[in-house]
């Protein structure tokens, strides 16, 4: 009996509390007050590095201050986690308003085909985003009407920051041997020979993580092909092929570098993180990898390391550089607040945000040379990015070519590096993957 009594008393209390909440809400729900109806903007992003995370949190606060009644509910996820959960979230009727998604057919392409993405074209026009996004970067965030052709059509994603591959170098080690920044491939190889003769490891390298090999290969391939070839290949245009003499030549060059001993000994057992740590520690005079390592390498003395773009065959010419953007912000089709979401994106590409990213050592798309301190690694990085844009020489991450190309390319590159297969066999293996994909794509079109 007493049990029941206590139970009912609790119920009464609950009911009273509920009524009080309702009374409290009444003014908000009353007609006429609708303009101030609270809005929550849910955002999933990939800014997990502490300084970037803090910057976004700060930008969110400033956005909320400027928009009374708007709450930003932000969830930061690691790349893998975000990639794995984005599609389900985008297809959920009450999913996030904005998600940073990966470009490429298996992510952005699949979502566009399923009708989950909002056309950002009108917003890009309203806010002038196309002035901030170079044409090559617009292309890789755009898809045709049916979502099956990447490279042109509807803009579905707006990225904030740039990524590109180049050559980091240890200023002291190069200066000791009187090596200047190489302007041609021949000068670069001469520098590597000189470093080798002086007992240095010319290029810090590791293949256990498999990704550095793709970038090294991409840069060497860029010596022999142009951006049009890479566009056709990565966008899967009719007639595109991996089976070219240029790819055989690039593969042979990579093997030649292994044979000459340019890379860290036992590189097959060295992880990507160890590769960077070894280079930072002075084990290796150069390192060919992406701009995403610049903040880590600026942690100590920001002038200890420098950066130059992989030099072309002939001085003064331009070769394609492996380049892209970070994951792009996309608005979920069916989001109740697409306009507000677009305004949020515009805030993240505003001069205020650009300066913030530059201060963090991250390369924002609209970065200016004067945002970096002269003589630092970051100044070299910014100069390199501006050079890529001015000369329109952005190439591609080759692994975007087909959904399975990352696995095919990394596995065959490891075999190439280990000397298990010939350059011709390397090209044949990748063409088998690419040809099958293109045939299937054309059959379904």
């Amino acid at each position: 009996m007493s049990e029941n009594g206590r139970f009912s008393r609790r119920l009464v209390l609950k009911g009273a509390a509920g009524t009080m909440v309702l009374v409290g809400l009444a003014p908000v729900l009353a007609p006429g007050a609708r303009a101030q109806e609270p809005v929550t903007l849910t955002v999933w992003d990939n800014w997990t590095r502490d300084v970037d995370d803090a910057l976004i949190e700060q930008l969110d606060r400033e956005f909320m201050d400027a928009h009374p009644g708007v709450t930003i509910d932000r969830i930061a996820k690691s790349f893998g986690d975000l990639k794995a959960t984005a599609k389900l979230a985008m297809s959920s009727p009450d999913g996030p308003d904005l998600i940073q998604i990966n470009q490429g057919m298996s992510d952005m392409g699949a979502m566009a085909q399923a009708g989950l993405l909002t056309d950002l074209g009108p917003y890009a026009e309203r806010y002038g985003w196309l002035k901030k996004l170079p044409p090559s970067m617009v292309a890789r965030n755009s898809l045709g009407d049916d979502g099956k052709q990447m490279g042109e059509g509807i803009l579905y994603g707006m990225p904030l920051t740039a990524e590109f591959v180049g050559v980091y170098f240890n200023r002291q080690k190069l200066a000791d041997l009187g090596i200047e920044t190489p302007k041609t491939m021949a000068e670069f190889e001469a520098a590597l020979d000189a470093l080798l003769a002086a007992g240095e490891i010319p290029i810090a390298f590791g293949d256990l993580g498999q990704d550095p090999a793709i970038h090294t290969y991409g840069e060497i391939e860029g010596l022999y092909v142009d951006t049009k070839y890479l566009d056709d290949l990565v966008y899967g245009r009719p007639g595109a092929t991996f089976d070219t003499p240029q790819n055989v030549e690039a593969a042979a060059k990579l093997q030649e570098w292994v044979d000459k001993g340019y890379f860290t000994p036992d590189f097959l057992g060295i992880s990507t993180e160890d590769m960077a740590a070894m280079f930072q520690d002075g084990q290796g005079a150069t390192m060919i990898t992406g701009s995403w390592f610049s903040s880590m390498l600026s942690e100590g003395d920001p002038e200890q390391f420098g950066f130059f773009l992989f030099p072309p065959l002939e001085e003064g010419t331009n070769k394609p550089i492996v380049a892209g953007t970070s994951m792009a912000y996309a608005i979920r089709a069916g989001s109740p607040n697409p306009d507000l979401a677009a305004e949020y994106i515009d805030w993240l590409v505003s001069p205020r945000a650009v300066q913030g990213f530059a201060d963090n050592g991250t390369v924002p798309l609209g970065v200016d040379a004067d945002m970096a301190t002269p003589g630092t690694l970051f100044a070299d990085i910014v100069a390199a990015w501006n050079h890529i844009n001015e000369t329109d020489s952005a190439g591609h991450y080759l692994d975007w070519a087909t959904p399975t190309f990352y696995d095919t390319l990394t596995a065959s590159l490891t075999e190439l590096l280990a000397g298990v297969i010939t350059p011709e066999e390397f090209v044949a293996k990748n063409q088998a993957d690419y040809g099958a994909y293109l045939a299937q794509k054309e059959a379904s079109a």
Binding site: G269, D274, P403
Partner: protein
């Protein structure tokens, strides 16, 4: 009255209510059904569809299974898993039997400390194990430094990056994390063996090794079978260790079936195809386990 009815229900005598016993397992069964059986059925159903994970699923019958026959990567992965079975079963069980022989038949000072120390690999998280061994196997890691130090520099190599040693290197980690489980089972089993057997053997003049071979080993048959089946399943579903150390590299030399399922489901959005691989892995596991248990029952019948 009450007691009598319950006793007879347990015996399942006709005319009584045999279903009453099932009520007791119902709560456990419901949880098992929702979290284990239902997902298995759903996975099996999914394996007949072409499904990206979020677009409408298209029924394609046995299409996924037909594609599997031509998928080189799947067969490479399955072969690697079968190789890993050696490292996950035979080696750790043999090692555990040896330790059991050493730790049970004679008094050793600090025995419990040894047992606890030897059990450590079992209680560590697989991710931690993977990270630690990745460091041990690194080109300039402890293993190569030791080889260097004792004049065996000819043997040093990037263990996880070398095409020949990568899979055995991962297998060795598997042996290291598997033996404690078998060891604990065996030590518990030995304590169950009748001391009279050993006394009789001693009277007949059997030495320690002979006692182990003629008494301990045969008496541990049941424990060995349990260890064999359990570790076999662990070998077939290996994922975390490979994911942390090599991700299947170099050039797929350590690719395993569970990694192939993960790759298809989460990287390539081929959810239906991933489900088909999972079904095949389940069937392979059932067949191999069934074979081991049948073989064991047959030897018991013959013995």
């Amino acid at each position: 009255m009450q007691i009598a009815r319950k006793a007879s229900a347990r015996g399942g005598r006709p005319g009584e209510r045999p279903w009453e016993g099932y009520l007791y397992i119902l709560p456990g069964f419901l949880i098992y059904a929702v979290f284990v059986l239902l997902p298995i059925v759903q996975t099996a159903r999914l394996s007949f569809f072409d499904w990206t994970g979020f677009t409408p699923a298209v029924f394609i019958g046995l299409g996924n299974y037909r594609a599997l026959l031509d998928d080189d990567l799947f067969w490479i992965a399955l072969r690697n898993n079968l190789t890993l079975i050696v490292f996950y079963t035979i080696i750790p069980i043999a090692f555990a039997l040896m330790l059991t022989g050493l730790l049970t038949r004679r008094p050793i000072r600090g025995l419990n400390a040894f047992r606890a120390g030897l059990f450590v690999p079992q209680v560590m998280s697989m991710v931690v194990v993977g990270v630690v061994w990745k460091w041990i196997y690194a080109p300039k890691g402890p293993l190569n430094q030791i080889l260097d130090g004792i004049g065996l520099e000819g043997l040093t190599r990037p263990w996880l990056g070398n095409f020949q040693t990568a899979l055995p290197a991962i297998g060795a980690i598997g042996s290291w994390v598997s033996y404690p489980f078998a060891m604990v089972l065996f030590i518990a089993g030995v304590q169950r063996i009748d001391e009279d057997l050993y006394d009789a053997a001693k009277l007949d003049g059997a030495n320690g090794f002979q006692q182990f071979m003629s008494i301990t080993l045969p008496e541990l048959r049941n424990e060995i079978t349990i260890a064999l089946v359990t570790l076999l399943i662990t070998a077939l579903r290996t994922f975390d260790l490979v994911f942390v150390t090599t991700r299947g590299g170099p050039a797929n030399r350590t690719h395993v079936v569970a990694l192939e399922i993960y790759r298809n489901a989460f990287t390539l959005s081929r959810t239906g195809y991933a489900a088909a691989i999972a079904v095949v892995l389940t069937v392979v596991t059932l067949i191999v386990s069934y074979a081991v248990i049948t073989l064991r029952l047959r030897t018991v019948a013959e013995g």
